[in-house]
Assembly symmetry: C2
Homo-oligomer: 328 residues x 2
Amino acid sequence: MKPSPTQLAALVAPIESELEAMRATIVEQLSDGSGAVSDMTGHVARFRGKQLRGSLVLLVARALGRQNDELPAVAAVVEMIHLATLVHDDILDGAKVRRRVASVNQRWDNQVAVLLGDFLYARAFALSTQLSDRMCSSLLAETTRRLCVGEIEQSTRRYDFDQAPEKVERIAAAKTASLYAAAAELGARYPDGSEEEAQEMARFGHELGLAFQLVDDCLDLVGNEETVGKSIGTDVADGKVTLPVLTVYRKATPEVRARIRDAYTLPELEDRVTHLAAACDLQPGIDATLARAAELADSARARLSTLPESAARQALDDLCGFVLARSF
Amino acid sequence: MKPSPTQLAALVAPIESELEAMRATIVEQLSDGSGAVSDMTGHVARFRGKQLRGSLVLLVARALGRQNDELPAVAAVVEMIHLATLVHDDILDGAKVRRRVASVNQRWDNQVAVLLGDFLYARAFALSTQLSDRMCSSLLAETTRRLCVGEIEQSTRRYDFDQAPEKVERIAAAKTASLYAAAAELGARYPDGSEEEAQEMARFGHELGLAFQLVDDCLDLVGNEETVGKSIGTDVADGKVTLPVLTVYRKATPEVRARIRDAYTLPELEDRVTHLAAACDLQPGIDATLARAAELADSARARLSTLPESAARQALDDLCGFVLARSF
């Protein structure tokens, strides 16, 4: 059975009080004396979403028995960077619905979406500079750079069916897994954890995040718009050649390849994903991509074996299952 | 006589070697293993421009007799934040030409311009976190937040002729003067300058930056596209009610007011500034705005009087004249 939002809530129960502190910090950071800004950030607060990245900071810290009053703020910085990327992503892929609220880009215009994303980044960095240890600032600035490079590379390789699957996976890793890796690393490291544990948890976060992104790529092709809570088919509409599509393309006959490329370049962006599904059998690509995601999640799960048994460790284990089985 | 780029170069002669170090740092920061990114950042490097903000860091430090090997890197962070705002500004006001090279937005699309700006912000913050003192990170993150709030407020008040001139000036201060203030403050403060000098130099930078912006608002109305090196009339095209226009509007008859509003809402964006100039006499608004800029520059200049005489102090004094008399 597919996991539900309720099950996700149960999963993060061990860190509920820290999560509440994280949420309060985000709300506080998004409030601003300026009416114009508050109006927008109030809207952004509704993008709340799954908060997996912030939860990861707190669960890893808890699983390693680490305690620090600043961890909810560290988690808030991670979530705010993620929020900024979501707002800018709305410009990127023209998604019309994200998480069941009109996207910033639809409600205001591109100008404001750019500025609001910039504001969120600035707030996140400003908050990180107020923490007692600089590690959070430096790790997350570097991670943000990697996120951007991943997005830029993906953007410049749109409509490119000749790229290697390994490269597509590396781009997915840069644009998504890097923030998961940083979140898990910060949970283990902030401010004085062991280098070895920090690196191991970074690898855990990397694998979990990459699995999440690969599942996301599949949901964008075959997900249910209502359940997923955001527009479906945006990758195809945007010309992004994701792993499931590339897998099918590489095994297809020249005729099917031509039909796939035709679907990707239809002038009506919304029709592209429907035509793609009609042009080929996507299922083998979905299956192969989900198998790769499962492999990554298994590898991530195995890294938890050295941690002492605890509710938090179990939650991290469950999270590996959640990213695979999720339908939202 | 109007100052020329050659005269600006002479003005920064006292800090030429540090400026070279700053430029080398920027080039180094913009290079990236990724071919896609290098291609774009190579283009951005051509946005070099006047580098007034970076120069301000170095001139203030020199004028106060402060020495620190990290100052060129501090100046580079300031310039990179400015570069990021320029790249995102190209999305904002649809400018077609900036600094004589095709804008990022024209050469690539909105997607890539957003990502490239994000990359520049991330690089700037990452570099700032590598400095030995955190002050640069925290001051510039906070300044970036203020920049964004200023831009957001300006964006939400487009086509609004009922706003108070004081509010328009406050927005100009937030969106432009705040980075000049931070640059001058960092020159005085980084890493262990006196609080009093730092605050005084922040005020100097604020006044200089606000004067610069007010002159910019005038150049956008009556400048020469060739000389200014960027598109003219973009504020009007974008619906931005700047101080010179608001000044004219507030003193105009109801008939002229209606013609001004009509010019601002013409469907052909490029025609707006021409129609505006035909709808009213802009000169009194230009004159009043330049007088206000001169007042600010005089106040800034007066703050230099307590500094010991030096070539750097003279350069800062000349800079106050330059921002007023500039035609580029």
